[in-house]
């Protein structure tokens, strides 16, 4: 599904990613854990194609295609989804209109007919229920006046409607209390499937109690320093990133 080879990237001329190698198969959930400033969000933005995140070396293949060649909207249309750490508010643009426009842009890219208003409403009602997003919130302006938890639930709601093949979830747990975390995690889990891969980026192990990964990577200073099973997350929680880092020093 996703193959990252020796990926280097910089922001404002400052190297952030320093040679990432990562391969995710369809059906797998990988977690990337790391301390602040390790390059977690940069990795997410590079995969989604944000301007200003310059890839200086390496390649990324998504379903065998060169992902880095594609503008962000083509990546989305090809099935890549980024769940934002800080979803931006867009006053004046209704959440539901925006999502319908996004879904139909993606369908158009795939050569499918646009979904009409009635079918879309049906779909969106069903998916909103998944993350307990109220009707009122779906109709408001995008993320405008949403609480932290509502924003994150809105991200997962969008993911549920857009049904991506690869979901990159950037610190979906940040700013959530335990109840909201559970709701969001359940939403994510319900979207797990043999055709879908997920890259869950997080600082804390807590999220991984709810979204249990197949593989855990530890990202420190722009490099993946360890890779293991789900127990690696627990070990990190107990030992802390510093120990892991120190253990790696020659």
């Amino acid at each position: 599904m996703l193959k990252i080879e020796d990926l280097h990237a910089e922001v404002d001329g400052k190297p952030i990613l320093k040679g990432i190698n990562l391969e995710i198969e369809a059906g797998q959930v990988h977690a990337v854990m790391g301390p602040n400033g390790s390059g977690k969000s940069t990795l997410a933005y590079v995969l989604a194609g944000r301007d200003g995140y310059e890839v200086t070396k390496g390649r990324v293949f998504y379903k065998g295609k060169d992902l880095l060649e594609m503008p962000p909207e083509v990546r989305a249309a090809e099935g890549v989804f980024l769940g934002f750490q800080y979803p931006v508010a867009i006053p004046g643009v209704s959440n539901i209109y925006f999502l319908k426009a996004a879904l139909n842009a993606i369908r158009k890219h795939r050569g499918e007919e646009p979904l009409d208003a009635i079918d879309f409403m049906k779909l969106s009602k069903e998916k909103a229920a998944l993350v307990q997003l109220s009707d009122e919130l779906t109709k408001r302006s995008v993320n405008d006046g949403f609480s932290g938890g509502e924003k994150k639930r809105n991200e997962i709601f969008q993911m549920a409607v857009l049904e991506p093949s690869l979901a990159v979830l950037d610190e979906t747990d940040s700013g959530l209390d335990i109840d909201a975390l559970r709701v969001v995690a359940e939403g994510v889990n319900s979207l797990r499937g043999p055709e879908r891969a997920m890259l869950v980026i997080t600082h804390y192990q807590r999220l991984l109690d709810y979204i249990v990964p197949d593989v855990v990577h530890v990202l420190i200073d722009g490099q993946i320093v360890r890779t293991g099973g789900k127990d690696l997350a627990k070990q990190l929680e107990q030992e802390g990133y510093t120990e892991v880092q120190d253990a790696l020093q020659p």
């Binding site: 989604a48 301007d51 962000p72 931006v88 643009v93 857009l162």
Partner: protein, 405 residues
């Protein structure tokens, strides 16, 4: 009827005024005298610094007769809408002191005062609250010869009266000058919502002057879509305790348009509140100007005044001048003001694109949403809908983003 010989605006001023009641002749005489002394504004006139009026001041126009806007809605029961010319002939005393713009008119307002031949007086008596809006259309001459009209409207609301007025300055070409004056007088507790639309309005110099008594409320929503040269001034005098005004505006200019919006709110009494939100988009080689001032007089304690102007620049050749300012002589007040000029928000753009929306469509969505928030305040559903459509027609991919809000 058209005055046969084209003249410059100042050249068309008569040396004496012989018609109408004595107070009107005196008023017109003072206006003409002020004009002869001060002339029309130039680039050196501070309040006209960014308005390229020279082409208008130097040009010759024939004065078109009339200036009476067309009433395109029924006049509801209890309201009167009369020709100024007829009232000035039959009962001039009713208008004495009502047409002087609160003092000595200057510049283009003085020109209108000296030269208007007719107009409309809408009066809503005390206690009459009108739900259905009154709609006026100021049609512009289609004559190929340069012409000028001086529309004049007077709106008076008695105690507790309520009115929604919708004015449209319709399409016209850049040879036709409309120099309009609308005066509004709101008695105690009167409430007025004033929607004003300028659509490709040729040469426009417009002035709205509002005098507000105790606890009255005035809401102005101005939508300007294009304009060869448009200068719009709205002034609210908050003269009675507890009066409130809300001045909102949206403008979109492209090509070589120049539109210029000026607001002036004078807090003359205590406990008054004013709020202003103007938003504009400049594309192509167009220029947009916003100049807003809030003056808080010494006795106007407990004033609350807010003013905001935000602009989007969509091209490197477009220009925006913005100058919100405050003059405060009272000490117990809450005031704020701010202005921004920028391009589309990168975070918002990326968010839309990351969900699959193509870049150019994302641009259009954000451009539309930026102005829609003001258009949404238009207090008249058919006009609001018409403005949304007009906005969509001017934005690339407008058809694809219908229903966005």
């Amino acid at each position: 009827m058209t005055d046969a010989t084209p003249q410059t605006l100042l050249g068309s001023l008569p040396t004496s005024f012989d018609a109408g009641p004595e107070w009107l002749r005196a008023l017109r005489g003072r206006a003409a005298e002020a004009l002869r002394e001060q002339g029309l504004p130039t680039k050196k006139t501070e309040a006209w610094r960014f308005t390229p009026v020279r082409s208008v001041v130097d040009a010759e126009f024939s004065q078109e007769d009339g200036g009476v806007p067309s009433l395109v809605s029924l006049v509801p029961d209890g309201v009167t809408a009369r020709s100024l010319r007829q009232v000035l002939k039959a009962q001039p005393e009713l208008l004495e002191g009502r047409l002087d713009l609160g003092g000595a008119p200057t510049h283009f307002a003085a020109l209108n005062t000296a030269l208007f031949t007719d107009g409309l007086w809408i009066d809503v008596p005390a206690g009459v609250a009108i739900q259905e809006p009154i709609e006026l259309v100021h049609a512009i001459s289609t004559s190929p010869e340069p012409g000028v009209v001086y529309p004049r409207v007077l709106v008076t609301l008695g105690d507790h009266a309520e009115l929604t007025l919708v004015e449209t300055y319709a399409s016209g070409d850049a040879r036709q000058l409309t120099n309009s004056v609308v005066e509004v007088a709101l008695d105690r507790n009167a409430k007025m919502s004033h929607v004003r639309v300028h659509e490709n309005a040729g040469l426009q110099v417009g002035r709205v002057d509002v005098r507000q008594d105790t606890d009255s409320g005035y809401r102005s929503t101005v939508v300007t879509l294009g304009g060869a040269l448009l200068r719009f001034d709205v002034r609210c005098l908050l003269q009675g305790k507890g009066a409130e005004c809300q001045l909102d505006g949206a403008y979109l200019v492209e090509g070589e348009d120049h539109v210029d919006h000026h607001t002036r709110v004078e807090h003359q009494a205590s406990h008054c509140r004013s709020e202003q939100t103007y938003r504009g988009i400049a594309a192509g080689k167009a220029t947009a100007v916003f100049d807003g001032i809030v003056v808080v007089h010494r006795d106007a304690q407990k004033t609350e005044a807010h003013q905001e102007n935000r602009n989007l620049l969509l091209s490197e050749m477009a220009t925006v001048h913005t100058k919100p300012h405050l003059e405060i002589d009272a000490d117990d007040v809450i005031c704020s003001h701010g202005a921004t000029v920028g391009s589309l928000d990168e975070d918002q753009l990326f968010y839309l694109r990351a969900r699959g929306i193509p870049k150019d469509l994302a641009h259009s969505i954000l451009t539309y949403a930026f102005l829609e928030s003001v258009v949404d305040r238009v207090d008249h559903e058919p006009t609001r809908q018409r403005m949304r459509e007009a906005l969509l027609a001017r934005i690339p991919h407008g058809d694809d983003i219908r229903g966005i809000t």
